[in-house]
Amino acid sequence: MEFNTTTFILEIINFLVLIWILQRLFYKPILGTIAKRKQHIDQSLEEAKKLHDEAEEQRKLYENRQQLWEQEKKAAQSELHQQFEAERSTQLEKLRSELEQERQKAKVTLTRQQEEFQQQVEKQALENGARFAGLLLQQTAGPEVENRLVAMLIDELNALPETAKISFQATDTKKSLNVKVTSAYPLTTDLVQQLEQKLGQLITRPMSFQYQQDSALIAGIRIDIGAWVLHANVGQELAGFAEIAYESE
């Protein structure tokens, strides 16, 4: 337990030297390395923060752009929708117009078809009527009817207008004229005399009469005087009745 001054002094020197050695070889390099590492970590963190901030900024920028794009898209969609609506209205109006025209055409066609059908039906009815009337008159007609028709013809010859009488007179007066008289039944002598006398009054030239019978006339007579034909028979009247139907079309 004795105190040694030499040891005391040497230990003080030793420890001071040890502090200097450790400070130079141990603490300083290690603390420097730790500081560098800390600086490196801080720098990395700062860079990471910077990158994060940049990423955040980019994200905000992207969101703003996306918002603008969304607005532009909505505006374009709205404009396109309006164009579609306008085009649709135009096309719809055009289609309606075409449909109206088609409808009018169809209506006209239908009306025409109905009219044609009606005319055809009327014609058919007239023909049927004429045929039925013909059949009926064929069964009911007889010499009496024919006599009355001849008498009616003679009366009508008396009542001929002056213009018709002049046309008969204008024919050639020297040349003999063939007059063909066709009747459904044989004519009575009295009627023949009245007929020849009456035609002699109308036509001043010589005439040769030829009489024949035709059941198609049903009742009455037909007189062929050159180019002239005088009808006073049921068959001709029925044919004329049917012709009226044809003319009315």
């Binding site: 337990m1 004795e2 105190f3 040694n4 001054t5 030499t6 040891t7 005391f8 002094i9 040497l10 230990e11 003080i12 030793n14 420890f15 001071l16 030297v17 040890l18 502090i19 050695i21 450790l22 400070q23 070889l25 141990f26 603490y27 390099p29 290690i30 603390l31 420097g32 390395t33 730790i34 560098k36 590492r37 490196h40």
Partner: protein, 221 residues
């Protein structure tokens, strides 16, 4: 002449404690040089251990003296490292701890004593530093002065007494109990060595921090 292991250089007698201290210094120097040759930002196992030791010491010092911790760090860290190794040296057969020598512990205590004043004056200036002896009352000046000497003496005696008694106790137990006792005694020795190194270094740190921050504490009061 201690234990017969000493030699003389002229009129100077080099004791075993000094020789052991040189050996410890050599080992510490080599270890420091080898472990810090290739320091990288991405440390290996050895670098991690070394950095952990230094970082732990640095944090402990900064916790007590946050503002001036880096100034006193080399002194306190060297105390802790040197005392830890010196206290554990006696575990090696044939060697004795330098800290069982009163001359060694006295030298360290005197270094602490002067360091306290050196760092106190360096950080605050002579006038302000000396002023703290007159606070809170000039009447306390003698007690402050006595305290400075007694705590230095206590530092030296505490470490010396503990380490010497530890070695003596271990030797006595070995003599009495033979080979059955060494392992528990060795465990006790390790713990005691670490605790004493920690206490000496921590007291030195507190004394230094008190001297450095005394003016600041006074102004706060």
């Amino acid at each position: 002449m201690e234990n017969g292991y000493s030699f003389a250089v002229g009129s100077l007698i080099i004791s075993l404690s000094v020789i052991t201290t040189w050996g410890i210094m050599l080992v510490l120097t080599l270890t420091a040089w080898l472990s810090t040759r290739r320091l990288t930002l991405f440390p290996g196992a050895i670098q991690t251990v070394v950095e952990s030791i230094v970082a732990a010491i640095d944090e402990a010092i900064l916790a007590v003296a946050p503002e001036h911790g880096r100034q006193i760090m080399p002194f306190i860290a060297s105390l802790w490292i040197f005392l830890t190794i010196a206290n554990l040296v006696s575990l090696i057969p044939g060697l004795h701890s330098p800290t069982r020598d009163l001359s060694v512990t006295s030298a360290l205590a005197v270094l602490v004593f002067f360091s306290v004043h050196w760092f106190g004056i360096k950080t605050q200036g002579l006038k302000k530093y000396l002023h703290h002896y007159l606070t809170p009352s000039p009447i306390l000046l003698p007690f402050h002065i006595i305290s400075e000497f007694t705590r230095t003496l206590a530092l030296a005696i505490r470490l010396f007494g503990n380490m010497m008694s530890l070695e003596m106790a271990a030797m006595l137990i070995l003599l009495v109990a033979g080979f059955l006792a060494p392992i528990p005694i060795l465990m006790l020795h390790i713990i005691e060595a670490l605790v004493q190194a920690y206490i000496f270094g921590m007291l030195a740190l507190i004394y230094l921090a008190g001297a450095i921050q005394s003016q600041q504490l006074n102004s706060q009061e």
